[in-house]
């Protein structure tokens, strides 16, 4: 055994030398990038969707954007890497993720006059931790043939006995529905929201399933008459040249905003934030500022049929054709905080088990 010692020493020395050499090579690479010529983005949004925006940003600023896309685990990844996390900014599609990132303490507060000017206060975090970039409405799609316009005016109307067996929706656990249920808790209290959710469940035509477009399709096929959907899916179906059958689905329904005589239609946001550990903070802020600019907001509106948050940027022609509407101004942070309660409510009511369970 004694004789092995020098060998181990030699191995250790060699190992350390190798590590030192590698680190030297790595750190010189880091220095070369010091001028913020690039920015690293974690995106909950599909790269092919945001590519036009990022290309426009690169063209304007000369800053290259590296993207990695995932729908789970980003928060844990940033948290685990701590100060060494390569992520400079995060792009999300739901208030829930933004709030969770903030709560996890991985974001930093950004004070930017540009952002404060471009984004109305209720679409950004009071502490500047996150910024809403687009708004999306959870609307109802109503069968043109079978539902008389004006017979459903609010989310509360969904529980009316006359709509028994007529409602379609995706899973109650989907972030978009969880946020809607959270807003019902905010407005009616937990008990009121539970009663409401039970009423909606009793009126379901089938077990919650599929995505938002699948609900329009179900109305087209006569499975149901009323569906919950985000507004922009309607725009995407109506303009889908690659799959023209989707135009028929969209043609079978009327997009209808809810609670126009009261608090307004429930809204969610897609947004962005800068991480606490950002190595390219300036570039990250520039990117978020750019995404709130006229140019980027117009791309969001035209390509994706979402509502730009920046006042004065016009909606897409299609979205305009659905008319003006009143949006619920309930605090997004409040919605985000109530998500766990909303998710538990879905369990309690057995919403996803479908009608008659």
């Amino acid at each position: 055994m004694e004789t092995k010692k020098p060998q181990i020493h030699r191995m250790l020395t060699a190992g350390l030398a190798a590590v030192a050499a590698a680190t030297a090579a790595l750190s010189s690479a880091t220095w070369a990038q010091a001028a913020d010529t690039e920015v690293n983005l974690y995106s909950y949004r599909q790269p092919f969707l945001i590519k036009p925006l990022l290309d426009a940003f690169t063209k304007e600023s000369g800053i290259k954007v590296n993207v990695v896309f995932a729908k789970k685990g980003m928060l844990e990844k940033i948290k685990a890497a701590g100060d060494n996390s390569p992520a400079d900014a995060v792009l999300t599609v739901d208030i829930g993720r933004l709030y969770a990132l903030k709560e996890a303490g991985v974001l930093q507060s950004i004070k930017s006059d540009v952002l404060n000017k471009n984004i109305p206060a209720h679409f950004r975090d009071p502490e500047g931790m996150w910024f809403g970039l687009t708004a999306r409405g959870r609307v109802l799609l109503l069968s043109k043939d079978r539902i008389k316009p004006g017979s459903i005016k609010s989310y509360e109307d969904l529980t009316k006995p006359e709509f028994k067996g007529k409602i379609c929706t995706r899973s109650g656990k989907h972030p978009y529905n969880v946020a809607l249920i959270a807003s019902m808790i905010a407005h009616h209290g937990e008990e009121g929201a539970q009663k409401w959710l039970e009423g909606v469940k009793a009126n379901l035509a089938r077990k919650p399933q599929g995505n938002d477009r699948a609900q329009a399709k179900a109305i087209f096929e006569g499975v149901c008459d009323i569906a919950l959907s985000n507004n922009y899916y309607m725009g995407k179906m109506m303009t889908n040249e690659k799959k023209p059958e989707q135009k028929k689905w969209a043609a079978a329904v009327n997009l209808t905003y809810m609670n126009q005589d009261g608090r307004g239609n429930h809204m969610n946001i897609s947004g962005a934030a800068v991480t606490k550990s950002a190595k390219h903070k300036d570039a990250a802020v520039k990117l978020v500022e750019f995404l709130s600019s006229d140019e980027a907001q117009r791309i969001y509106a035209e390509d994706n049929h979402e509502y730009p948050v920046k006042p004065g940027v016009p909606y897409s022609k299609l979205v305009q054709s659905w008319g003006d509407f009143k949006a619920d101004t309930l605090s997004l942070e409040k919605i985000a905080k109530l998500r766990p309660a909303a998710s538990r409510l879905v369990d309690k009511v057995g919403f996803d088990d479908g009608p008659g369970s």
Binding site: T23, K71, K72, A80, N84, K207, G222, V223, K242, R339
Partner: protein
């Protein structure tokens, strides 16, 4: 000796420690097993971090529903893969009927198809607007849903069907290999004793092949336990759906890790129970009489049934998805070609191949260590490390990133202090993290296959080699290696195919600008535009085909002395 120590009646700490202390082989095995199991341990330790209690709520509401559906899913899948896998394996090894030679290798093809892709294709074809129902409506003049009944594809039945079609090849491969290896003597004896073909199957061949079949079924069931994409697509709320719900909707990663830990315990119990059920049944074939197997010639309707039984899983599990993908790929090929198609294909292949080599190496070390070493601890550690296959991929990815980033940060701080140089994320920021995740995820495949191969090498041979003065290493290279070469190849190919299909670990752990075919397809599928990435999906299937066909052809030759032109065993 051990037994004597146990019944001596006097509790002795020294004896206990002596029993638990592994020897050199055991210690090495333990160390490697712990290395592979680290992500699982990390998940368990996340479960211990304080967080709001989820159990009261789950117990009151959905917990039993999750458990019930999960049990139904794995029971249905177990039964389905058993019937399809064992049935087809028996037919192609023991019977003669037209097309047998083709079925022999084609039955493995569905393994190359990712479950989520088959799920999509099935829904696409079988739902109301799908080709089948459209055709039915046209033929029979039905107008809408009220006119006829059609099974709902987005259901438990749909999930079981799709998973069975993709996963039965595990059982098929292992059962077929087991049938091929059965000594002809055993079967001939049973025939001589007046057993019918069915009796031979049920009373002799099946019990002898049981360990292999159970391994195949266990793999399939573990795959079903870790799956989220498919069950979510079919609207079936299983235990895994619950894990993701607690994690992402209730913002409670600790609660999710608690659920995942319960899942791991469940798998351990299942595996232990199965092992206890066949305790003491260790067979080595001692006969060397391995001439061509006798076979039953099937004619008429029997042959027709055999053909239908073998053709159906191939048609539904491979031909259908491949042709649907091809038809979409022809229309939408540009989307994939524009997205650095060659680079992402190369990434997929290189990553999967490296993972396959590493997984086989680790599997070999562990299987060999357990054979040579003594002590219950290393054995338990290896069993524990193998359950990574049942853990939902995204949870496992968190289990990889937490300890790996901690190690990176420790190295970074050390180097910063000592050399004044920041090393950043040396490992967790690179593909090493993905490889590590794959190792843990697929250990059950690599270790399981190698262990099964090694288990077939009689210990008498080890004894003979050692008596003749060969060192353990020499015994390994001269005796074992040639005998388990096929098992090593099988293990490597299985891991390769599974890595090509793997999604959740890859997508979370990959560095910037690094895409594989699976992450590329997911990008579109998650925006409801699956068709546009069809060429990518088709490439996953095609790249999986090559190893799958090699698999089918090599294991054909495993019957020593038969159909093996290379030489005699």
């Amino acid at each position: 000796m051990r037994h004597a120590a146990a019944v001596s009646g006097r509790f002795s700490v020294r004896q206990l420690i002596a029993r638990l202390t592994p020897d050199r082989w055991g210690a090495a095995t333990l160390a490697v097993a712990l290395f592979v199991a680290t992500p699982l341990i990390a998940v368990a330790s996340i479960a211990l971090t304080p967080a709001p209690d989820i159990w009261r709520h789950l117990y009151d509401t959905v917990l039993f529903g999750y458990i019930e559906r999960t049990l139904i899913l794995i029971a249905g899948l177990g039964l389905g893969t058993f019937i399809l896998g064992t049935g087809t394996a028996w037919l192609v090894t023991m019977c003669r009927f037209p097309g047998r030679g083709l079925f022999n290798w084609a039955l493995v093809l569905p393994l190359a198809v990712p479950t989520y892709i088959l799920a999509f294709v099935f829904t696409d074809q079988l739902e109301y607007a799908g080709n089948l129902q459209v055709a039915l409506r046209e033929i029979f003049g039905w107008r809408d849903r009220q006119d006829y009944w059609f099974p709902e594809i987005r259901s438990m039945g749909g999930a079981i069907t799709v998973m069975t079609l993709v996963l039965y090849p595990y059982v098929y491969l292992l059962a077929r290999a087991a049938f091929l290896e059965q000594s002809v003597c055993v079967l001939e004896v049973s025939r001589t004793l007046g057993k019918s073909a069915w009796q031979c199957f049920w009373q002799v061949a099946l019990p002898l092949a049981r360990p292999a079949i159970v391994v195949g079924m266990t793999l399939a069931m573990m795959e079903a336990l870790n799956d989220f994409g498919t069950v979510d697509f079919f609207g079936v709320k299983t235990f895994t759906a619950g894990i993701y719900d607690v994690w992402l909707n209730m913002d409670n990663i600790s609660g999710a890790a608690q659920l995942a830990s319960v899942l791991m315990i469940f798998v351990v119990v299942l595996v232990v129970l199965e092992r206890m059920a066949r305790r003491g049944q260790r067979y080595h074939h001692t006969s060397t009489k391995v001439q061509a197997l006798p076979s039953y010639q099937l004619r008429g309707w029997r042959a027709g049934l055999a053909i239908a039984f073998c053709a159906l899983p191939i048609l539904l599990g491979f031909v259908l998805p491949a042709s649907v993908l091809t038809s979409y790929a022809v229309v939408f090929f540009e989307v994939t070609l524009n997205a650095n198609y060659l680079t992402i294909t190369l990434n997929s292949i290189l990553l999967s191949a490296s993972a396959a080599v590493a997984a086989v190496a680790i599997g070999l070390i562990l299987a060999y260590g357990l054979r040579m070493g003594e002590g219950p601890l290393p054995r338990a550690a290896v069993r524990f490390a193998s359950i990574g296959y049942a853990v939902p991929g995204a949870v496992l990815a968190i289990g990889v990133i937490v300890p790996m980033a901690a190690l990176d940060n420790t190295i970074d701080h050390f180097s910063e202090r000592v050399f004044g140089i920041s090393t950043g994320l040396l490992l967790s920021g690179t593909v090493v993290a993905i490889l590590y995740g794959y190792l843990t995820r697929f250990l059950a495949l690599s270790f399981g296959t190698v262990e099964a191969g090694l288990g077939k090498v009689s210990r008498n041979m080890d004894g003979a080699a050692r008596t003749l003065g060969a060192s353990p290493l020499r015994a390994m290279s001269r005796i074992h290696f040639p005998l388990i070469r096929t098992s090593l190849l099988t293990a490597g190919l299985l891991v390769f195919v599974d890595c090509m299909k793997e999604l959740p670990i890859t997508i979370i752990l990959r560095p910037f600008g690094y895409d594989t075919l699976a992450t590329f397809v997911f990008q579109y599928a998650s925006d409801e535009l699956f068709e546009e990435s069809a060429l990518g999906a088709l490439t996953i299937v095609a790249a999986g085909l090559i190893p799958v066909v090699i698999l089918a052809l090599t294991s054909l030759r495993t019957r020593p002395g038969h159909a093996n032109p290379g030489g005699r065993a």
